[in-house]
Amino acid sequence: MALANVLQSESVDFSNYGRKCRGFTSSLYETELGLESVGGDNLSFAVRTACSDGDGSERKIQFLHGTTTLAFKFQHGVIVAVDSRATAGAYIASQTVKKVIEINPYLLGTMAGGAADCSFWERLLARQCRVYELRNKERISVAAASKLLANMVYQYKGMGLSMGTMVCGWDKTGPGLYYVDSEGNRVCGDLFAVGSGSMYAYGIVDSGLKQKDLTVEEACDLGCRAIYQATYRDAYSGGQVNLYHVHSEGWNRVSQSDVLLLHQQYQAEKA
């Protein structure tokens, strides 16, 4: 299957791009430029998902889009804050989901959308990043890592992947933050919030970031508060707030706070 191709061939390896892109003036106008450059043997990637009905229309797999994930750049790096609730319709499947994937000691990826899709592709990204590091004797940049991920999932565009992730890290150009999703978007930015609770989170972070030069503590508190507010109003977000801070030496897990305890703490502060 397509998976076997990805794992066995030297896929998304730079040397293959040169080989396939040679003499490609005609295929510039064709859409399969992305497909062509992967897989040493020209197998087509037209794998139809197994869940199509008899009349050809495909049933949609139910994904867990209920979440709030947030990341923003500031003077001392990147803050990554996520909730931990997984829902299937109105049923809360879990309150302790790990939505931050540790790609390597200096790169983090967040998870929104299909949990399996996110964790699988980000682990594949981790493998690719490690190979890059060994080949080139230097760490991969956040731009390159996010590009690799975006290119990997772009080949499966339209086949039902659901993934909205933020690739966060620190490389030689400073803090890096990219939003990558299964539609093929890849955007660089200073602040992203993804998921059903993202609007609430944006509200808090946008007003909190007005003041320049946050300290690490202030930034962590802001991230925490933003996720808390989202869990307060959004039914599909909740559980705990997992907070990470990415700095020049790598990332570290700052805190894991239960939302109910946070609620009581903030209520007490208000009084």
Partner: protein, 246 residues
Amino acid sequence: MSYDRAITVFSPDGHLFQVEYAQEAVKKGSTAVGVRGKNVVVLGVEKKTVAKLQDDRTVRKICALDDNVFMAFAGLTADARIVVNRARVECQSHRLTVEDPVTVEYITRFISSIKQRYTQSSGRRPFGISSLIVGFDFDGTPHLYQTDPSGTYHAWKANAIGRSAKTVREFLEKNYKEEHMESDTDTIKLAIRALLEVVQSGGKNIELAIMKRDESMKILVQEEIEEYVTAIEKEKEEAEKQKKKT
């Protein structure tokens, strides 16, 4: 019992004869010399005399691979054209996927991998070229690499390939001085002096390209080369005079 028929066959004493024959082809090519200075990298090639009716602009042996890397080769020009084409595409692919220009080491490794692949597939012969690849990395360090038909590559401070490469290399070993590499003019002069050892009739048959950090490759015009040559000849005369005095 000849072991040079097919490329994929080792000889009993461990030689890949096709690769060695390819290296012989390289030795027949016109000389190329490369010098790595502190702030400038220089490549010089021996320009073969062109026929009267031939337009000499079509015989370019120094090729830019990207804004920060360029190379010269010795050996079969047609083979070099293929390698240069692939390397140029790879430089752009790298920029597309990694959003950074290639490092000199990366593109050298890529070219060497291509060459090695051709020493291990059936029905193909190795590329009959050695190349000198120079440039600056993203962080400003200069590099000079040499590749050969077997697919190995090494970094050098100064090197020569092609006809009379040995003579030129010995000259470079004798005259390469670390302190001189600080100055751009001295680095360029060293390259020209090395080429003058083996090229007949002086500056007219030399083609030189230089790249300073954060600038693109510059091919020197004939007048500039003549300037350096006259300066070098003056220095030689002075050195002779000094010798005669003492």
